[in-house]
Symmetry: C2
Subunit: 292 residues, 2 copies
């Protein structure tokens, strides 16, 4: 959507060359071609859908996603709010019955497997109802990425239930909802402190008997502030490669930021392609009853 | 305490004859002896601790319980508030770190085992913190009655977690607290509707996979109103024999009501004696860390 900067164009063409996606470039044709020239790219193999300005590009791309003409969206050089503004309206956008949420997929060198952190980008102070959708979106994401049943750690500052710390109460409620089939496809435990979630030794020291402690695939953070600090720290100080994806919409959406490297953009595109493929297979996120 | 009516005197002397208790009759000696005459009882084998009026009887009895001179209290013909007024003050009464709570022990002809309903008499609208103590008090009670690890059903109107129904959230929190060792000695599940709690068939129909459903020993009710209706219904329409006991105090306390039969009073005394015996064995309710 509006790939009028060399970086966003580079990543999508690179992804196309690697067979990850078939790009459809939606935006002002002149600007897109100029960006290609700057980046030294030949666009003759790719479809351009011309629109006037970035606002029109967002509307057109969302309309194409609604009809199934495209199966995922990737933000180019336009403001996030401009793209989300076209996605969010329930009559014309891409919302489903689910809350829209964001997930970071992190490859942390010091952890044995990919780690998903959610929601560190869209939902600021989610309540229990929102957390149900955020967790289910993330579980469905893991199912799109591989065959495993994900282990979900619901993070708080402590691993015990404390009536004065709402995130510990939400954690307990989410676990019981999983017991009752109100959340499906994952193994949940929480509250867990960060150390208990990712280190079996730390969990053992605390005497926590949990199928998730030390083996978490998904970290559900209490709110955006804590989540953002956690994800950014993993990226900058623990050397994690980071992909990001918007979930709970009719099609997966990649919201790149200008700070992203081409490697990071490619990782996000790969995740996006897997989610779109999963939706095509009917294992998608539109129905909570969809999963066996 | 103040056994100046024939009914209360009859029950305690009958319990003494059966070897359940050694009664100490605290109150105005003249009134006690007159009540004995009316009931046709000979009190010459029993100790009377004379006091002036009912208020003084309550204070004296509580003081004797504090020093260990008596190991349980049973309300005679004085008002509940008068006895509780002597029990509740933290400096001179019988409170522990625990919330004081009440449990009915019911022998329901149509249920396979004794059923405990708590709290249907003292705590009106308990919050999560209070429910923790109410559950732990009831679990400790079951341990005093027998060797089994009790199964605790946390009741609500529904068996799923509903963010709009606080009792379902409390239930989830209590279950997680049991997972984390914040509540010990019992197997908890909830929210459960009443039918799921006491009928395995009903639980199966709803697809509930629970170690408690259909096998509950303890029913934790959401509040006093629902609990009172439940307990009274079991007593009057399902033909249950009913004992009642106050827990979370230094010694167990029986609060009989004028409507109680001698049979009911004896049942309460039997439960009281078992709890007092348990406390003597060090498996009591004063320390949450006391149980292995």
């Amino acid at each position: 959507v509006h790939p009028c900067g060399p970086d966003s164009l580079l990543a999508s063409i690179e992804a196309a060359k690697r067979g990850l996606i078939e790009p459809v470039l939606v935006g002002p044709a002149g600007k897109i071609l100029r960006a290609a020239e700057v980046a030294g790219l030949d666009l003759s193999d790719y479809r351009i859908v011309p629109t006037e300005h970035s606002h029109a590009a967002a509307e057109k791309a969302v309309a194409m996603a609604r009809t199934g003409e495209v199966e995922a969206l990737m933000k180019g050089s336009l403001h996030t709010d401009e793209l989300m503004g076209a996605i969010v309206p329930s009559a014309t956008g891409l919302r489903t019955g689910r809350r829209v949420s964001h997930a970071f997929v992190l490859d942390v060198p010091t952890y044995v497997k990919p780690l998903i952190v959610t929601d560190a980008a869209i939902n600021i102070f989610p309540g229990l109802k929102e957390k149900v959708d955020i967790v289910q979106n993330a579980i469905d994401l893991v199912h799109a990425l591989g065959p495993e049943e994900p282990r979900v750690a619901i993070l708080s500052a402590v691993e015990t239930v404390n009536p004065d710390i709402p995130s510990t109460l939400d954690a307990a409620a989410l676990c019981k909802m999983a017991d009752r089939g109100q959340i499906t496809g994952g193994i949940l435990d929480g509250p867990l402190a960060f150390d208990n979630a990712i280190s079996e030794a730390a969990a053992k020291t605390k005497g926590i008997d949990s199928p998730v402690a030390g083996k978490a695939d998904i970290l559900l953070v209490p709110d955006l502030e804590s989540g953002n600090m956690l994800a950014t720290q993993l990226q900058y100080l623990a050397g994690a490669d980071t992909a990001g994806i918007v979930l709970g919409t009719r099609v997966p959406i990649v919201l790149t930021s200008r700070a992203d490297t081409v490697r990071g953009r490619l990782a996000s595109i790969a995740v996006m392609a897997l989610v779109a493929h999963g939706k095509r297979q009917g294992a998608g996120t539109t129905s909570r009853e969809g999963r066996p």
